[in-house]
């Protein structure tokens, strides 16, 4: 136990130098936790938003439906199978019918997806209530991005054209009853929401749906013929992949930060060994073995990681807590540039694993970085060290 005792004594004895190093390293340490926490918070919020606005507890897709292939929509509709209908009737699921269409706002042609949904549903955080109370022939709900793209506003009327189940094209005017503000682009861009009964009638698809969204926390029904269950794991995969991709990008930042901090420690260690070579010689003369001197210098370097955690905790905890409570603002609508549902304010989420993992990582790096120059001591002759020479 003598090495830790001496190392702590040396580090504390070095005073301001020790704390300056710790302060530099703590910046890398806190920044990593903060940035990673931001991505964790980002991941959690995007997932929560998508679950609330689109995925619920998972979705049943009618056979042949592929959201990435619009050509499948022509045949992707069927009456929900009995087990699904039971859940719909019990308010534990809501059907959505998806039909391809075109709108003509201001004389322009805009291909869209017409999505039919129950106006009274409450499973998804879409303000569908307006569809049931407007009194318009074809009431429609659009998101703010769609409204912007189409130059649409509430109470505007726009012509919609679609093809029904029999292959016949038809066109009518629909009225925008509300422009909703949502951060979920996937229920907004290129989409027009109608009451499902209206869309079923327009498309000649009575009682039919393309997908059935289940309530959150509801267990999936056993296999439903003609329908495939898409779990949240499957539905959120793309989002997770995007966040993961962004996290990998952020790792480059961490690597640079850690590299700079490691360089500072390496430099400090090299200088320390150079400056303290006479001290090393004295220690050897007093009976400290080379192994113990190497251990001592390595331990001193590793203590930088521990002290950085202490210094980082002092200024980092209040800072991280502030962002966790007040969030970090990216400015209005900046979230859209990320390509996925993201609010204008992000709230970092710090887990014990993140803090512990970063602490261990910083400690390991400082230990390794400290050991490398300390190895030089192993080649040092006591007589040379006493005379202040490095061999």
């Amino acid at each position: 136990m003598i090495i830790p005792k001496l190392a702590i004594r040396n580090m504390l004895g070095a005073g301001a130098k020790t704390w300056l190093n710790a302060a530099v390293l703590s910046m890398a340490y806190v920044t990593i936790i903060w940035a990673q926490g931001l991505y964790n918070g980002f991941d959690a919020e995007v997932s929560r938003t998508m679950i609330d606005a689109e995925y619920g507890g998972g979705q049943y897709w009618v056979e042949g439906y592929d959201p990435y292939d619009p050509f499948t929509l022509q045949d992707a509709h069927a009456v929900p199978a009995a087990p699904l209908q039971i859940r719909i009737d019990a308010g534990k699921a809501t059907p959505i019918l998806i039909v391809q269409g075109t709108i003509y706002p201001g004389g322009r042609i805009l291909p869209i997806l017409l999505k039919g949904i129950e106006p009274g549903q409450s499973l998804l955080s879409i303000p569908t209530g307006a569809l049931g109370t407007s009194g318009a022939d074809i009431p429609a709900l659009v998101g703010s991005r769609m409204a912007k793209t189409g130059g649409l506003a509430a109470r505007d009327t726009v012509t919609v054209r679609w093809r029904d189940a029999r292959g016949a094209f038809d066109a009518r005017d629909l009225q925008i009853v509300e422009v909703m503000k949502t951060i979920a682009q996937s229920i907004d861009e290129g989409q027009v929401w109608l009451p499902i009964a209206t869309l079923r009638e327009m498309a000649a698809m009575p009682g039919q749906a393309t997908i059935v969204v289940t309530a959150k926390d509801s267990a999936p029904t056993a296999a439903v013929p003609g329908w495939s269950f898409q779990s949240l794991g499957v539905l959120l995969k793309d989002i997770k992949d995007i966040v993961k991709g962004k996290t990998v990008g952020a790792s480059v930042l961490y690597a640079i930060l850690l590299f700079l901090a490691a360089l500072a420690i390496l430099n400090t260690q090299l200088l320390s060994i150079w400056r303290r070579r006479k001290e090393i010689g004295t220690m050897m003369a007093l009976g400290v073995t080379r192994g113990r001197v190497i251990g001592l210098f390595t331990f001193e370097g590793a203590l930088n990681g521990v002290f950085a955690a202490i210094v980082g905790a002092l200024w980092g905890i209040p800072l991280l807590a502030y962002f966790a409570v007040h969030g970090l603002s990216f400015g209005a609508n900046q979230g859209d540039s990320f390509g996925i549902a993201m609010s204008d304010k992000m709230y970092p989420a710090y887990s014990a694993a993140l803090v512990l993992g970063t602490t261990v990582l910083v400690f390991l790096i400082t230990t390794i970085i400290s050991y490398l120059p300390a190895r030089k001591i192993g080649k040092l002759k006591p007589t040379d060290a006493l005379q202040g020479r490095m061999t």
Binding site: I2, K5, L6, R9, N10, L12, G13, A14, K278, E279, G281, T282, M283, M284, A285, L286, G287, V288, T289, R290, G291, K381, P382, T383, L386
Partner: protein, 233 residues
């Protein structure tokens, strides 16, 4: 090794290679030192005093010949054993004091005992006793940069003798001290030598030290030129 003999060198040679040339620092040195001696290696700079002291302190190895210290052949000692010999049995006093700068006086003196793994209470008593010997008990909490040269060297003496070693090797211990401090620390070392029967071996060319030696060995160009009784009592 005969009873009472703690150091014996036999045909000791130390040669330092310097590129294609070499420098012979010690040539056929044959010396014996007994327990309780207060002896000194004297001679001009480059005569091999410090080299001999380093070999006897197991800090360096001879090129040829043998150096036996407390029954151990220095030239055959592995690093760990040499460190153990230094830690347990040899105390060093350096010209430039070599106190560990971030430690207090107490911690500097305590250092060798920490390495020995001595229990806290015994360690504390030994350190305070050693500081009493050198009259610095009241400066236990001071740092080296708060001490004068004489005080620093007294701390170094306390550190060298705190473990009550058989042998203390002092390399030009008064070179950085004024006359008053030199006499003071020499008296201190003489007292310790008498009380603990610790063998003191100096390397010096300082007349003040030479005047205290009971045995004076003159080295010239790495050879023992004279081995005679000193003026010390």
């Amino acid at each position: 090794m005969e009873n009472g003999t703690i150091i014996r060198t036999t045909d000791l040679v130390k040669i330092y290679p310097m590129g294609e040339q070499s420098i012979t620092a010690l040539q056929d040195v044959n010396l014996t030192f007994g327990r309780g001696e207060f002896a000194g290696l004297v001679g001009p700079s480059g005569s091999g005093k410090t080299t001999l002291l380093n070999i006897l302190g197991s800090l360096d190895a001879p090129t040829r010949g043998s150096a036996e210290v407390l029954g151990l052949r220095v030239e055959a000692l592995p690093h760990k054993k040499a460190a153990e010999l230094r830690n347990r049995h040899i105390g060093f006093i350096f010209q430039t004091f070599n106190l560990l700068p971030v430690y207090t006086v107490f911690e500097n003196v305590e250092f060798p005992l920490l390495l020995l793994g001595m229990a806290t209470a015994a360690r504390r008593k030994a350190v305070m006793d050693a500081l009493e010997w050198v009259h610095l008990a009241d400066r236990a909490k001071s740092r080296p940069n708060q001490l004068s040269g004489g005080q620093s060297q007294r701390v170094a003496i306390a550190r060298a003798v705190v473990k009550k070693p058989e042998l203390v090797l002092a390399d030009e211990p008064t070179a950085n001290l004024d006359a008053e401090n030199s006499h003071h620390i020499l008296h201190t070392m003489e007292n310790i030598n008498r009380e603990l029967r610790t063998t003191f071996l100096f390397s010096t060319h300082d007349d003040k030290v030479i005047g205290h030696l009971r045995r004076k060995i003159t080295l010239v160009d790495g050879r023992v030129a004279k081995d005679e009784p000193g003026a010390g009592r």
